[in-house]
Symmetry: C2
Subunit: 210 residues, 2 copies
Amino acid sequence: MLTLYTYFRSSAAYRVRIALNLKGIEYHSQFVHLLRHGGEQRQPAYLKLNPQGLVPALVEGETVMTQSLAIIEYLDELYPHPPVLPADLKGRAYVRSLAQLVACDIHPLNNLRVRQYLIDQWGHSEAQWQEWYQQWIQEGFSALETHLATHPATGLCCYGHSPTMADICLVPQVYNARRFDCDLSPYPRLNDIYRHCTALEHFRQASPEY
Amino acid sequence: MLTLYTYFRSSAAYRVRIALNLKGIEYHSQFVHLLRHGGEQRQPAYLKLNPQGLVPALVEGETVMTQSLAIIEYLDELYPHPPVLPADLKGRAYVRSLAQLVACDIHPLNNLRVRQYLIDQWGHSEAQWQEWYQQWIQEGFSALETHLATHPATGLCCYGHSPTMADICLVPQVYNARRFDCDLSPYPRLNDIYRHCTALEHFRQASPEY
Protein backbone atom coordinates (compact mmCIF):
# COMPACT_ATOMS: atom_id res chain seq x y z
CA MET A 1 0.00 0.00 0.00
CA LEU A 2 1.29 3.47 -0.92
CA THR A 3 1.51 6.15 1.75
CA LEU A 4 1.11 9.78 0.74
CA TYR A 5 2.50 12.45 3.06
CA THR A 6 0.09 15.25 2.41
CA TYR A 7 -1.38 18.52 3.65
CA PHE A 8 -4.91 19.45 2.65
CA ARG A 9 -4.05 22.90 1.22
CA SER A 10 -0.68 22.05 -0.37
CA SER A 11 -1.07 22.51 -4.13
CA ALA A 12 1.64 19.97 -4.85
CA ALA A 13 0.03 17.32 -2.62
CA TYR A 14 -3.38 18.13 -4.13
CA ARG A 15 -1.92 17.34 -7.59
CA VAL A 16 -0.76 13.91 -6.46
CA ARG A 17 -4.10 13.17 -4.80
CA ILE A 18 -5.86 13.92 -8.10
CA ALA A 19 -3.48 11.66 -10.02
CA LEU A 20 -3.91 8.79 -7.53
CA ASN A 21 -7.70 9.12 -7.79
CA LEU A 22 -7.70 9.31 -11.60
CA LYS A 23 -5.64 6.12 -11.70
CA GLY A 24 -7.85 4.43 -9.10
CA ILE A 25 -4.86 3.71 -6.85
CA GLU A 26 -5.60 3.06 -3.19
CA TYR A 27 -3.33 4.82 -0.74
CA HIS A 28 -2.95 5.69 2.89
CA SER A 29 -2.76 9.40 3.84
CA GLN A 30 -0.29 10.61 6.43
CA PHE A 31 -1.02 14.20 7.34
CA VAL A 32 1.83 16.68 7.74
CA HIS A 33 0.57 19.92 9.26
CA LEU A 34 2.53 22.73 7.63
CA LEU A 35 1.61 25.32 10.27
CA ARG A 36 1.72 23.31 13.51
CA HIS A 37 4.81 22.87 15.74
CA GLY A 38 6.80 25.31 13.60
CA GLY A 39 5.89 23.20 10.57
CA GLU A 40 5.76 19.43 10.92
CA GLN A 41 7.48 19.23 7.51
CA ARG A 42 10.61 20.71 9.11
CA GLN A 43 10.80 18.21 11.98
CA PRO A 44 13.59 15.58 11.92
CA ALA A 45 11.16 12.67 11.42
CA TYR A 46 9.86 14.15 8.19
CA LEU A 47 13.24 15.46 7.00
CA LYS A 48 14.47 11.87 7.07
CA LEU A 49 11.86 11.10 4.42
CA ASN A 50 12.28 14.29 2.43
CA PRO A 51 15.36 16.42 3.17
CA GLN A 52 13.70 19.35 1.42
CA GLY A 53 11.04 19.53 4.12
CA LEU A 54 8.26 19.91 1.59
CA VAL A 55 5.14 17.88 0.90
CA PRO A 56 4.20 15.66 -0.79
CA ALA A 57 6.27 12.52 -0.40
CA LEU A 58 5.03 9.16 -1.64
CA VAL A 59 6.32 6.05 0.11
CA GLU A 60 6.21 2.61 -1.47
CA GLY A 61 7.97 -0.01 0.62
CA GLU A 62 11.52 1.23 1.14
CA THR A 63 11.30 3.86 -1.60
CA VAL A 64 10.49 7.47 -0.89
CA MET A 65 9.53 9.61 -3.83
CA THR A 66 9.43 13.41 -3.81
CA GLN A 67 8.48 16.21 -6.22
CA SER A 68 4.87 16.04 -7.33
CA LEU A 69 5.48 15.94 -11.10
CA ALA A 70 8.10 13.20 -10.75
CA ILE A 71 5.60 11.21 -8.66
CA ILE A 72 2.84 11.71 -11.22
CA GLU A 73 5.10 10.61 -14.10
CA TYR A 74 5.98 7.52 -12.03
CA LEU A 75 2.31 6.71 -11.44
CA ASP A 76 1.61 7.20 -15.15
CA GLU A 77 4.42 4.84 -16.14
CA LEU A 78 3.43 2.22 -13.55
CA TYR A 79 -0.33 2.42 -14.16
CA PRO A 80 -0.73 3.64 -17.74
CA HIS A 81 -4.54 3.64 -17.74
CA PRO A 82 -6.09 6.11 -17.87
CA PRO A 83 -3.10 8.08 -19.16
CA VAL A 84 -2.42 11.60 -17.89
CA LEU A 85 -0.23 12.39 -20.90
CA PRO A 86 -1.28 12.19 -24.57
CA ALA A 87 0.20 9.48 -26.79
CA ASP A 88 1.86 11.70 -29.42
CA LEU A 89 5.22 13.25 -28.58
CA LYS A 90 4.35 16.86 -29.37
CA GLY A 91 1.15 16.57 -27.36
CA ARG A 92 3.15 15.22 -24.44
CA ALA A 93 5.61 18.12 -24.70
CA TYR A 94 2.74 20.61 -24.77
CA VAL A 95 0.90 19.09 -21.78
CA ARG A 96 4.12 18.88 -19.79
CA SER A 97 4.89 22.51 -20.63
CA LEU A 98 1.50 23.64 -19.29
CA ALA A 99 2.03 21.60 -16.13
CA GLN A 100 5.52 23.05 -15.69
CA LEU A 101 4.33 26.58 -16.36
CA VAL A 102 2.29 26.16 -13.16
CA ALA A 103 4.67 23.93 -11.21
CA CYS A 104 7.87 25.86 -12.00
CA ASP A 105 6.83 29.42 -12.75
CA ILE A 106 3.81 30.12 -10.52
CA HIS A 107 3.57 27.82 -7.54
CA PRO A 108 7.16 27.95 -6.15
CA LEU A 109 7.02 31.74 -5.97
CA ASN A 110 3.76 31.74 -4.06
CA ASN A 111 4.08 28.90 -1.61
CA LEU A 112 4.31 28.92 2.17
CA ARG A 113 8.08 29.08 2.61
CA VAL A 114 8.33 32.15 0.34
CA ARG A 115 5.41 33.81 2.11
CA GLN A 116 7.12 33.20 5.44
CA TYR A 117 10.39 34.59 4.14
CA LEU A 118 8.88 37.78 2.74
CA ILE A 119 6.67 38.45 5.76
CA ASP A 120 8.57 37.03 8.76
CA GLN A 121 12.12 37.61 7.55
CA TRP A 122 11.83 40.80 5.56
CA GLY A 123 8.79 42.34 7.24
CA HIS A 124 6.66 42.76 4.15
CA SER A 125 2.98 43.43 4.77
CA GLU A 126 0.02 41.22 3.96
CA ALA A 127 -0.88 43.73 1.22
CA GLN A 128 2.58 43.38 -0.34
CA TRP A 129 2.30 39.60 -0.19
CA GLN A 130 -1.01 39.94 -2.02
CA GLU A 131 0.68 42.11 -4.70
CA TRP A 132 3.53 39.60 -5.05
CA TYR A 133 1.14 36.66 -5.21
CA GLN A 134 -1.03 38.30 -7.88
CA GLN A 135 1.99 39.31 -9.96
CA TRP A 136 2.99 35.69 -10.62
CA ILE A 137 -0.59 34.49 -11.00
CA GLN A 138 -1.26 37.22 -13.54
CA GLU A 139 1.92 36.52 -15.57
CA GLY A 140 1.40 32.77 -15.51
CA PHE A 141 -2.35 32.66 -16.05
CA SER A 142 -2.17 35.17 -18.93
CA ALA A 143 0.31 32.91 -20.73
CA LEU A 144 -1.77 29.81 -19.96
CA GLU A 145 -4.93 31.49 -21.23
CA THR A 146 -3.13 32.45 -24.48
CA HIS A 147 -1.93 28.87 -24.94
CA LEU A 148 -5.41 27.46 -24.34
CA ALA A 149 -7.08 30.07 -26.57
CA THR A 150 -4.81 29.27 -29.51
CA HIS A 151 -4.03 25.55 -29.27
CA PRO A 152 -6.30 23.34 -31.40
CA ALA A 153 -6.43 20.54 -28.79
CA THR A 154 -8.08 22.64 -26.06
CA GLY A 155 -11.35 21.00 -25.02
CA LEU A 156 -13.31 20.56 -21.83
CA CYS A 157 -9.88 19.97 -20.34
CA CYS A 158 -6.54 21.59 -21.22
CA TYR A 159 -5.86 18.91 -23.82
CA GLY A 160 -8.97 17.28 -25.21
CA HIS A 161 -11.81 16.19 -23.00
CA SER A 162 -10.00 13.98 -20.49
CA PRO A 163 -7.82 15.23 -17.64
CA THR A 164 -4.08 15.30 -18.13
CA MET A 165 -1.12 16.44 -16.07
CA ALA A 166 -1.95 19.99 -17.18
CA ASP A 167 -5.35 19.92 -15.47
CA ILE A 168 -3.82 18.16 -12.47
CA CYS A 169 -1.59 21.22 -12.02
CA LEU A 170 -4.09 23.86 -13.10
CA VAL A 171 -6.90 22.98 -10.70
CA PRO A 172 -4.92 23.32 -7.43
CA GLN A 173 -3.39 26.57 -8.68
CA VAL A 174 -6.78 28.08 -9.55
CA TYR A 175 -8.11 26.88 -6.20
CA ASN A 176 -5.20 28.64 -4.51
CA ALA A 177 -5.63 31.85 -6.54
CA ARG A 178 -9.33 31.99 -5.58
CA ARG A 179 -8.37 31.61 -1.93
CA PHE A 180 -6.11 34.66 -2.28
CA ASP A 181 -8.89 36.67 -3.98
CA CYS A 182 -7.23 36.98 -7.37
CA ASP A 183 -9.38 38.44 -10.13
CA LEU A 184 -9.75 35.51 -12.51
CA SER A 185 -12.18 37.16 -14.92
CA PRO A 186 -9.45 37.70 -17.59
CA TYR A 187 -9.06 33.91 -17.91
CA PRO A 188 -12.34 32.48 -19.19
CA ARG A 189 -10.80 29.23 -20.49
CA LEU A 190 -9.02 28.54 -17.23
CA ASN A 191 -12.29 29.12 -15.40
CA ASP A 192 -14.24 26.82 -17.72
CA ILE A 193 -11.68 24.03 -17.33
CA TYR A 194 -11.56 24.55 -13.57
CA ARG A 195 -15.36 24.29 -13.36
CA HIS A 196 -15.42 21.20 -15.54
CA CYS A 197 -12.66 19.38 -13.67
CA THR A 198 -13.75 20.24 -10.13
CA ALA A 199 -17.15 18.72 -10.91
CA LEU A 200 -15.47 15.37 -11.66
CA GLU A 201 -15.54 12.91 -8.78
CA HIS A 202 -11.79 12.16 -8.87
CA PHE A 203 -10.96 15.83 -8.57
CA ARG A 204 -13.64 16.48 -5.95
CA GLN A 205 -12.35 13.71 -3.71
CA ALA A 206 -8.83 15.15 -3.91
CA SER A 207 -9.86 18.68 -2.94
CA PRO A 208 -8.78 20.33 0.31
CA GLU A 209 -12.39 20.39 1.52
CA TYR A 210 -13.12 16.72 0.99
CA MET B 1 16.41 21.83 -38.47
CA LEU B 2 15.48 22.77 -34.90
CA THR B 3 15.80 26.37 -33.76
CA LEU B 4 16.56 27.10 -30.13
CA TYR B 5 15.72 30.54 -28.77
CA THR B 6 18.40 30.94 -26.18
CA TYR B 7 20.37 33.35 -23.99
CA PHE B 8 23.88 32.45 -22.96
CA ARG B 9 23.37 32.86 -19.21
CA SER B 10 19.82 31.51 -18.95
CA SER B 11 19.96 28.35 -16.81
CA ALA B 12 16.91 26.90 -18.51
CA ALA B 13 18.34 27.46 -22.01
CA TYR B 14 21.70 26.06 -20.86
CA ARG B 15 19.89 22.85 -19.81
CA VAL B 16 18.39 22.42 -23.27
CA ARG B 17 21.74 23.12 -24.96
CA ILE B 18 23.33 20.34 -22.88
CA ALA B 19 20.54 17.91 -23.80
CA LEU B 20 20.80 18.73 -27.52
CA ASN B 21 24.57 18.19 -27.39
CA LEU B 22 24.30 14.91 -25.45
CA LYS B 23 21.85 13.62 -28.05
CA GLY B 24 24.01 14.87 -30.91
CA ILE B 25 21.14 16.89 -32.37
CA GLU B 26 22.07 19.72 -34.72
CA TYR B 27 20.23 22.96 -34.16
CA HIS B 28 20.24 26.62 -35.06
CA SER B 29 20.59 29.16 -32.23
CA GLN B 30 18.48 32.30 -32.18
CA PHE B 31 19.73 34.67 -29.51
CA VAL B 32 17.27 36.51 -27.28
CA HIS B 33 19.03 39.16 -25.23
CA LEU B 34 17.32 39.28 -21.85
CA LEU B 35 18.75 42.64 -20.87
CA ARG B 36 18.64 44.60 -24.14
CA HIS B 37 15.70 46.75 -25.35
CA GLY B 38 13.90 46.23 -22.05
CA GLY B 39 14.31 42.49 -22.55
CA GLU B 40 13.95 41.06 -26.06
CA GLN B 41 11.99 38.19 -24.49
CA ARG B 42 9.19 40.65 -23.70
CA GLN B 43 8.91 42.07 -27.23
CA PRO B 44 5.82 41.18 -29.30
CA ALA B 45 7.80 39.09 -31.81
CA TYR B 46 9.04 36.74 -29.10
CA LEU B 47 5.78 36.74 -27.13
CA LYS B 48 4.10 35.32 -30.23
CA LEU B 49 6.37 32.29 -29.87
CA ASN B 50 6.24 32.06 -26.11
CA PRO B 51 3.52 34.06 -24.36
CA GLN B 52 5.39 33.64 -21.08
CA GLY B 53 8.24 35.78 -22.39
CA LEU B 54 10.86 33.39 -21.07
CA VAL B 55 13.63 31.45 -22.77
CA PRO B 56 14.14 28.83 -24.00
CA ALA B 57 11.73 27.99 -26.79
CA LEU B 58 12.44 25.22 -29.27
CA VAL B 59 10.90 25.50 -32.72
CA GLU B 60 10.45 22.51 -35.01
CA GLY B 61 8.54 23.38 -38.18
CA GLU B 62 5.22 24.85 -37.06
CA THR B 63 5.56 23.62 -33.49
CA VAL B 64 6.88 25.80 -30.69
CA MET B 65 7.88 24.05 -27.50
CA THR B 66 8.47 25.81 -24.18
CA GLN B 67 9.58 24.85 -20.67
CA SER B 68 13.05 23.33 -20.56
CA LEU B 69 12.14 20.04 -18.85
CA ALA B 70 9.23 19.42 -21.22
CA ILE B 71 11.60 20.05 -24.14
CA ILE B 72 14.21 17.66 -22.72
CA GLU B 73 11.61 14.91 -22.16
CA TYR B 74 10.51 15.45 -25.78
CA LEU B 75 14.07 15.12 -27.05
CA ASP B 76 14.53 11.99 -24.93
CA GLU B 77 11.39 10.40 -26.34
CA LEU B 78 12.23 11.34 -29.93
CA TYR B 79 15.94 10.42 -29.77
CA PRO B 80 16.19 7.78 -27.02
CA HIS B 81 19.97 7.28 -27.33
CA PRO B 82 21.82 8.13 -25.21
CA PRO B 83 19.01 8.27 -22.64
CA VAL B 84 18.87 11.09 -20.08
CA LEU B 85 16.58 9.07 -17.81
CA PRO B 86 17.31 5.63 -16.35
CA ALA B 87 15.34 2.62 -17.57
CA ASP B 88 13.78 1.52 -14.27
CA LEU B 89 10.72 3.39 -13.05
CA LYS B 90 11.97 4.23 -9.57
CA GLY B 91 15.26 5.46 -10.99
CA ARG B 92 13.34 7.67 -13.40
CA ALA B 93 11.25 9.08 -10.55
CA TYR B 94 14.41 9.80 -8.55
CA VAL B 95 16.25 11.49 -11.42
CA ARG B 96 13.18 13.56 -12.30
CA SER B 97 12.82 14.57 -8.64
CA LEU B 98 16.42 15.85 -8.53
CA ALA B 99 15.88 17.76 -11.77
CA GLN B 100 12.64 19.26 -10.43
CA LEU B 101 14.22 20.15 -7.11
CA VAL B 102 16.43 22.50 -9.13
CA ALA B 103 13.94 23.50 -11.82
CA CYS B 104 10.96 24.08 -9.51
CA ASP B 105 12.38 24.92 -6.11
CA ILE B 106 15.63 26.82 -6.76
CA HIS B 107 15.80 28.36 -10.20
CA PRO B 108 12.37 30.10 -10.47
CA LEU B 109 13.00 31.97 -7.22
CA ASN B 110 16.36 33.24 -8.35
CA ASN B 111 15.88 34.15 -11.97
CA LEU B 112 15.94 37.51 -13.70
CA ARG B 113 12.26 38.44 -13.48
CA VAL B 114 12.24 37.88 -9.71
CA ARG B 115 15.46 39.83 -9.30
CA GLN B 116 13.96 42.71 -11.26
CA TYR B 117 10.78 42.60 -9.17
CA LEU B 118 12.60 42.63 -5.82
CA ILE B 119 15.10 45.33 -6.81
CA ASP B 120 13.27 47.56 -9.32
CA GLN B 121 9.72 47.20 -7.98
CA TRP B 122 10.28 46.86 -4.26
CA GLY B 123 13.59 48.66 -3.91
CA HIS B 124 15.52 45.88 -2.25
CA SER B 125 19.30 46.26 -2.24
CA GLU B 126 21.87 44.16 -4.03
CA ALA B 127 22.87 42.76 -0.60
CA GLN B 128 19.29 41.68 0.07
CA TRP B 129 19.11 40.07 -3.34
CA GLN B 130 22.27 38.16 -2.44
CA GLU B 131 20.68 37.02 0.84
CA TRP B 132 17.52 35.93 -1.00
CA TYR B 133 19.51 34.13 -3.68
CA GLN B 134 21.64 32.27 -1.17
CA GLN B 135 18.64 31.27 0.94
CA TRP B 136 17.13 29.15 -1.86
CA ILE B 137 20.50 27.84 -3.02
CA GLN B 138 21.29 26.74 0.51
CA GLU B 139 17.92 25.05 1.10
CA GLY B 140 17.96 23.33 -2.26
CA PHE B 141 21.61 22.33 -2.41
CA SER B 142 21.52 20.95 1.17
CA ALA B 143 18.65 18.67 0.21
CA LEU B 144 20.37 17.66 -3.03
CA GLU B 145 23.62 16.90 -1.19
CA THR B 146 21.70 14.72 1.29
CA HIS B 147 20.03 12.83 -1.56
CA LEU B 148 23.35 12.25 -3.33
CA ALA B 149 25.14 11.28 -0.11
CA THR B 150 22.56 8.62 0.73
CA HIS B 151 21.36 7.24 -2.60
CA PRO B 152 23.16 4.08 -3.72
CA ALA B 153 23.14 5.07 -7.40
CA THR B 154 25.25 8.21 -6.97
CA GLY B 155 28.35 7.97 -9.14
CA LEU B 156 30.47 10.32 -11.20
CA CYS B 157 27.10 11.81 -12.14
CA CYS B 158 23.95 12.20 -10.05
CA TYR B 159 22.76 8.76 -11.13
CA GLY B 160 25.51 6.39 -12.15
CA HIS B 161 28.35 7.49 -14.36
CA SER B 162 26.47 8.92 -17.35
CA PRO B 163 24.71 12.28 -17.42
CA THR B 164 20.96 12.35 -16.84
CA MET B 165 18.34 15.06 -16.59
CA ALA B 166 19.53 15.60 -13.00
CA ASP B 167 23.02 16.63 -14.12
CA ILE B 168 21.51 18.67 -16.95
CA CYS B 169 19.72 20.77 -14.30
CA LEU B 170 22.45 20.68 -11.66
CA VAL B 171 25.30 22.05 -13.78
CA PRO B 172 23.64 25.32 -14.86
CA GLN B 173 22.43 25.90 -11.29
CA VAL B 174 25.91 25.41 -9.81
CA TYR B 175 27.33 27.65 -12.54
CA ASN B 176 24.81 30.30 -11.56
CA ALA B 177 25.49 29.92 -7.81
CA ARG B 178 29.22 30.36 -8.42
CA ARG B 179 28.51 33.51 -10.39
CA PHE B 180 26.64 34.89 -7.36
CA ASP B 181 29.52 33.98 -5.01
CA CYS B 182 27.66 31.34 -3.01
CA ASP B 183 29.75 29.30 -0.60
CA LEU B 184 29.56 25.82 -2.09
CA SER B 185 31.99 24.13 0.29
CA PRO B 186 29.18 22.37 2.21
CA TYR B 187 28.26 20.42 -0.94
CA PRO B 188 31.22 18.22 -1.85
CA ARG B 189 29.21 15.79 -3.97
CA LEU B 190 27.61 18.58 -5.98
CA ASN B 191 31.06 20.04 -6.58
CA ASP B 192 32.50 16.69 -7.66
CA ILE B 193 29.66 16.09 -10.09
CA TYR B 194 29.91 19.65 -11.40
CA ARG B 195 33.62 19.24 -12.02
CA HIS B 196 33.13 15.89 -13.71
CA CYS B 197 30.33 17.07 -15.99
CA THR B 198 31.77 20.43 -16.97
CA ALA B 199 34.87 18.61 -18.22
CA LEU B 200 32.75 16.65 -20.68
CA GLU B 201 32.72 18.03 -24.20
CA HIS B 202 28.91 18.09 -24.54
CA PHE B 203 28.58 20.15 -21.39
CA ARG B 204 31.50 22.41 -22.24
CA GLN B 205 30.07 23.28 -25.64
CA ALA B 206 26.76 24.20 -24.02
CA SER B 207 28.27 26.53 -21.42
CA PRO B 208 27.66 30.30 -21.41
CA GLU B 209 31.35 30.93 -22.19
CA TYR B 210 31.55 28.70 -25.23
